[in-house]
């Protein structure tokens, strides 16, 4: 059986902040055509952005390119773009104009602040959008500068929200025959993560601020990142009967190995992290820190798991690629990169039972599919293609 989106065509003109939406649609079987400027530099970001997609080039500054683009729009189901609001309109390519060419088009815009409003013309990017969305303020040590989460976390999240908008609109289009414009703001998606903080603030004017290697749970601030002999792990003592088996397993392990253990006599069934005095917590956490510092990642993964202490090693990217679980699920896949040979990469976003569609196992070089796409979709012959190429249109 083909993919859930087989037979649908997507034009993807996004930059790296919006590329995941198209990658997700591609993983469900859509034909995603990624459009970049002729001569764009290739790096790891731009290559990942092409995963599962076809690659063509188009220079929108050229009038001939606009006509080609409108031709492609007529034959496509989705457009994904990340231009500054107003740019497409300046080219005569706003949603209003594109929808007259193709009323079924679902036009997905992913921008730092959204299509309209007082900040819509502001320049952004991952760091600025996460700052304005309120997530940056929750990450980092209280005594230090707020710090960005790994890579492009908020942009990736925004891409998932944009994909949802696109799919909901797709369902509606199936019934009504009409497309629409999806407006996704990275700032607003970032802000949507702040629910606990928003509720605490609305009701109690309490803020959940950044806590470094700790996390604030309500009134308690609890250490969650611990140094190991050769890395780090994630662990916290959880409240009540829910946390009791794991808490006592850790305490027992510490005692068995002769570590100082101020928690030896704690009744874990009644332990409440919110009620534990801060000075007691400090004594406990100091003892736990000394214990973890003596353990390796392998010991936490193996013995720690067998003992049920509920500590998770903070994998580095190499650990991730070698993870038995992900490999057993066939999630790690060898993909051919242009000029770089085979690379191990994550494959699907969600696993489907009845669809056996899989992404192609290669990433195209820039413009690899120009001939196929322009000749098949727009009926452009070889000599005209050569001419467009020579003029720098494609």
């Amino acid at each position: 059986m083909p993919g859930l989106l087989s037979g649908l065509r997507v034009l993807d003109m996004s930059d790296y902040t919006g590329a995941t939406t198209g990658s997700f649609l591609a993983s469900l079987g859509a034909e995603v055509i990624r459009i970049e400027r002729p001569g764009s530099a290739s790096n790891h970001q731009t290559l990942i952005a092409r995963r599962g997609k076809k690659s063509i080039t188009l220079n929108l500054d050229d009038r001939n390119a606009i006509a080609l683009f409108k031709g492609l729009i007529k034959k496509s189901d989705f457009l994904i773009e990340t231009f500054r609001p107003g740019f497409l309109k300046s080219k005569g390519l706003s949603y209003e104009e594109l929808s007259t060419i193709n009323p079924q088009l679902i036009h997905v815009s992913i921008t730092p602040f959204g299509q309209t409003g007082p900040y819509s013309q502001f320049l952004g990017g991952e760091l600025v959008a996460s700052a304005m969305g309120g997530t940056l303020a929750t990450c980092g040590y209280p005594d230090d500068t707020p710090v960005l989460e790994a890579l492009d976390a908020c942009s990736f999240h925004a891409c998932s929200a944009a994909a949802m908008g696109a799919m909901f609109a797709h369902r509606d289009r199936g019934l009504t025959g009409l497309g629409q414009h999806i407006d996704c703001s990275i700032q607003e998606v970032a802000a949507s993560r702040n629910t606990n903080n928003l509720l605490s603030y609305q009701f109690d004017k309490r803020k959940l601020e950044r806590a470094g290697n700790k996390v604030r749970f309500g009134v308690a601030t609890v250490r969650v990142v611990w140094e190991l002999a050769d890395g780090y792990c994630f662990h916290s003592l959880m409240t009540g009967k829910f946390g009791a088996p794991a808490n006592s397993a850790l305490s027992r392990w510490m005692t068995e190995e002769g570590y100082e253990n101020p928690m030896a006599d704690v009744n874990w069934d009644t332990y409440d992290r919110s009620a534990l005095p801060a000075d007691t917590r400090l004594i406990w956490e100091t003892a736990i820190a000394a214990f973890f510092k003596s353990k390796t990642k392998a010991q936490i993964r193996n013995e720690g798991h067998q003992r049920g202490i509920r500590a998770t090693v903070a994998n580095d990217p190499t650990d991730v690629m070698n993870d038995d679980h992900l490999n057993a699920r066939d999630f790690i896949r060898s993909v051919e990169m242009p000029n770089a040979g085979a690379i191990q990469l994550p494959d699907y976003f969600v696993r489907l039972s009845n669809s056996d569609f899989r992404n192609p196992a290669n990433i195209p070089s820039l413009g690899k599919d120009n001939t196929e796409v322009f000749s098949q979709l727009l009926d452009i012959g070889a000599s005209e293609l050569a001419n467009l190429h020579a003029k720098g249109v494609i």
Partner: protein, 408 residues
Amino acid sequence: MSNSTPLAGVKVLDFSWALVGSLTTKLLADFGAEVVKVESALRPCLSRIDKQVSVSSRESLDDKPWFSHFNSSKLSLQLNMKHPRVREVINPLLDWADVVVENFSPGTMEKLGLDYPTIKTQHPDIIMVSGSVFGQTGPYAKNWGVDGTGAALAGRMYMTGWPDRDPVTPSVPYGDVVLPYFMASAVAAAIEHKRTTGQGEYIDASMYEVCVQQMSEAIIESQVSHAPPFRQGNRSRSALYQGVFPCRDDQWIAISIFNEMQWQALVNCVAKAHAEQSAWPAAENLDELTPPMLDELDALVSEWTGSQERYALMELLQTNHIAAGVVQDIADTFENDPQLQHRDYLKTLDHPLLGEFGHQTPPVKLSRTPADVKLAPNMGQHCAYVCKQIIGMTDDVYESLRDENLFV
């Protein structure tokens, strides 16, 4: 059927609890799906008992803003899933439903006789989605995990923070609130696929795997670069130069430079006030600067930003075509942000026990079929409605089930 929401007419049987499943079905419900949430006071969702804010009580299951937020627009069916007659309600609901959503530990639905292979025998075209930390198969499928587990496993945690300090984790969730968007997306794709082909689908969504997708760039780096990827504070390959800098009154501003023109604009802004222009590297040399040289540059910029009011500075930089944003905390985004307000990011709903408060609306806006966020249900508020209106149960049967304590 109303045309005002994109999922009008979609019927969802919802076994979700906690965050991942509840957010998934909230998104479906806010966009018009009819979502019947199955829950029980015998084992209430943590968000019905968690006392994070002072107005919430120990006695009530209905006065928790956290629950209200993540369960907006749904119907509540209170049901003892272990009751001998529970199938008199569940079976007709399976006949009714287009979609089944759950996020229990893998194996739980099987114990209830509600796993996909079992449901499929009677309902071959059902669409079912399961959300979990590890996915439904594989050696770790039944391992314990929470939001931070996904961050630790996927490499997010290792890669977040300063190179010379322990890694850090944000005080807000990530995997738990990203996965639901992929789940809801896949459900909608499957609904439309079913409409055209008649085929059902089972969707196995793993929070760990989605977090690994987000780390793709680091995963490539780890295979092709001489220097293994490592956390690098606020530096990023996406920008020529960027950082977070102090402002007046212990506040911060984020600045990102993506091209030569923006770099020159920043140099002009700062040099006008302070340092000599000759002290600044040319844009094309920025990616060759060593970490200590970048730190020196940060110090120059900080000296300039440190005395300025953050919002005025943001306006100044943006006027000069430089990407800059105030590091806003929750008070700033809630009280002062005209952009979020312009997007109606909160909808005020009048809760019977909590009074009026702002509920976050879905952060993606659909021009023709917008979301419509409605108040979350009290525990069991819709038992009679679901039984009588949706599955057509007679009053007599409903009352006998009620008298046998099914709806608890």
